[in-house]
């Protein structure tokens, strides 16, 4: 393999692109953090300081803002339901894909991916109508169902590659040693797959936590945090937005940090 940046000009270009890309991602995060721990005055003030005096005024204001606590609670409930549903539905599907031969298997895999290509806005109106009809409108479980739909393809494909990576013989040897299929799964496969399943669980949580479109459309009173922030965006002071932004970003950051070890293998195998 040739090294990227064989000549010095290439190396320079490569380095510069890296710096730009990093700034592109990190600068907003930096501003978000800094402004969240600044006083409201500092947020509006100029010039900025690189390190503000740490103050929790903004965060406290955000926390005490009417409706934030409830919205945050709703977000957590929705995300936990999404997490549970995705794992409970997605893991068996991933296992089935990895271990069984059946008719239409490849079609099924493509369909799983295709659901991600389907634009949610197109689905929004019919979904809202159906939800109104069956009484799921403005409920957290209703939102969680849509979020599960968004997270499920990843859960299926990630657990699929996870189970593929666990040799079939490990299970088979357990069967010959007196295990039922389920016992072999529980004693042999599950312990080996647990870290990966945990990673995809956290991923489902983050998908739900960050989703705004469906949450905003399907709820009126029981809003999740994203829906709440979007709706009160116009009327709320700017430091509220910063604090809200940080709260939204934080779980995703924690997630990436926690599962960074898996990220590459997940993408690499999930696209196979």
């Amino acid at each position: 393999m040739k090294r990227v940046g064989g000549s010095s000009a290439m190396a320079w270009l490569f380095g510069a692109s890296l710096v730009i890309l990093c700034l592109w991602v990190l600068l907003p995060l930096y501003l978000l953090m800094v402004n969240s721990v600044s006083t409201p005055d500092q947020i509006h003030g100029w010039p900025k300081r690189l390190w503000p005096e740490i103050s929790f005024d903004t965060i406290l204001f955000f926390w005490n803002f009417q409706g934030v606590a409830q919205a945050m609670f709703n977000s957590i409930v929705t995300a936990v339901i999404t997490l549970l549903l995705s794992i409970l539905l997605g893991t068996p599907a991933g296992y089935g894909l990895a271990r069984f031969r059946f008719r239409g298997k490849n079609l099924f895999r493509i369909m799983v991916l295709m659901t991600r290509a389907f634009p949610l806005p197109l689905l929004a109106l019919p979904l809202a109508v159906v939800y109104l009809q069956i009484g799921l409108d403005d409920t957290l479980i209703g939102v969680a169902l849509v979020h599960t739909m968004l997270a499920l393809p990843f859960t299926v494909l990630v657990t699929f590659s996870l189970f593929l990576g666990i040799p079939r013989e490990l299970e088979e040897v357990a069967w010959t040693m007196g295990c039922t299929r389920w016992e072999a799964f529980r004693k042999v496969v599950l312990p080996l797959a647990a870290p990966g399943i945990a990673a995809s669980a956290v991923f489902a949580f983050v998908v739900s936590w960050n989703e705004v479109f469906a949450a905003a459309i399907l709820t009126v009173n029981n809003q999740t945090l994203t829906a709440f922030l979007v709706q009160s965006l116009d009327e709320s002071p700017v430091h509220l937005k910063f604090a809200g932004g940080l709260v939204l970003v934080l779980p995703a950051l924690v997630f990436i940090f926690a599962v960074r070890k898996y990220m590459f293998s997940l993408w690499g195998i999930a696209s196979r």
Partner: protein, 344 residues
């Protein structure tokens, strides 16, 4: 008494016929080896016996019990896989104890049996380690220990030695042989290595293209190959086959031959080599000469047909010279046009 009786087993994978009506009888405490080239269906047959794969037709009995519809866990078997399949998330102790624990053996008994097995397999020092900390040979021992500790009625092994390097394989082969003689377990052992098969087996089933070509003792298989395939697969170098449809070569050396004979087969070491013209000999031209230490091998051309011959190491051989060969009449086998052996 745990014999294995397999009758008329068939298996298709899609349009591909992997097994065509395979039948096999393994007697109690017999060591049977399934031998054949890669892809001939050995593993498929073994997995069907283990219950890891369903047959499309035929019956399997283990110890007078019809097991066709039983899951692997109820077939009273143990299996050793080529890649050992040692559970990576358990210590070696827990690996060996696994089968005993799923059968609800009291923990005190688990302990004594695991310890005894560990001593027997020389893995006592590894018991608290994990699979990743072991060498290939040690993993192999763990896999065998784990299978034997439950004292199975039937032991199935799928190329258990083929992932070891040559020296270790030789050593493990000898150990395995004495171990299994001691345990007296009915065993089916899959390999594509003919030396392994010859040295381990009570009986060898030579497979080819989804069926069994011959099932017999190593000596029967070697000296009386039932088909040309078996003769050509077993032996290094393999059996020579001489096309003799006009009866000219057999008459030349004074051999009686069955009427339908199409070709004659003779092992390289069953040919006498003469330097001087003698009666009832094939005059041949020497091709490549290879000295292998205890003996030498050379290729001999007889009217555009090639023979491989084993000769004494002190015989001076020169490429291109003419020699005279005479096959041992008692060792010659006759084959018909389809390659099946004919009775003399």
């Amino acid at each position: 008494m745990t014999g294995i009786s397999v009758a008329g087993i068939q298996k298709r994978f899609g349009a591909y016929q992997a097994l065509t009506s395979v039948s096999l009888e393994v007697r109690d405490s017999e060591f049977t080896v399934l031998l054949g080239p890669s892809g001939c269906g050995k593993s498929t047959l073994l997995r069907i016996i283990a219950g890891l794969e369903y047959a499309d037709g035929g019956t399997i009995d283990i110890g007078q019990r019809r097991v066709n519809d039983l899951p692997p866990r109820l077939r009273r078997i143990a299996m050793v896989f080529q890649n050992y399949a040692v559970f990576p998330h358990m210590t070696i102790y827990d690996n060996v104890a696994f089968g005993l624990r799923t059968r609800k053996t009291p923990e005190a008994e688990v302990r004594t049996r695991v310890m005894r097995m560990a001593e027997l397999m020389d893995i006592g020092a590894q018991l608290s380690k994990y699979s990743a900390q072991l060498s290939g040979g040690q993993r192999q021992r763990v896999a065998v220990a784990r299978a034997l500790v439950v004292e199975p009625e039937v032991l199935l092994m799928d190329e258990p030695l083929s992932n070891l390097d040559a020296l270790l394989r030789l050593q493990m082969r000898a150990e395995l042989k004495s171990l299994l003689q001691e345990f007296n377990t009915t065993t089916i052992y899959v390999t594509h290595d003919q030396v392994e098969a010859m040295s381990l087996a009570d009986r060898i089933a030579v497979m080819n293209g989804g069926h069994i070509e011959q099932y017999g003792s190593p000596m029967q298989i070697y000296s009386r190959p039932a088909t040309r395939f078996v003769g050509g697969f077993i032996g290094n170098p393999p059996m020579n086959f001489l096309l003799d449809d006009h009866h000219s070569y057999s008459r030349q050396v004074g051999l009686e031959r069955p009427g339908k004979a199409h070709s004659l087969g003779i092992r390289p070491e069953d040919i006498q080599v003469y330097r001087e013209m003698a009666t009832q000999c094939w005059p041949v031209k020497v091709g490549v000469v290879e000295c292998l230490g205890p003996m030498q091998q050379f290729t001999a051309e007889l009217d555009h047909q090639m023979l491989r011959v084993t000769a004494d190491p002190d015989l001076a051989l020169h490429s291109g010279e003419t020699l005279y060969l005479r096959p041992d009449p008692a060792k010659v086998c006759w084959y018909d046009g389809e390659g099946r052996m004919l009775p003399v």
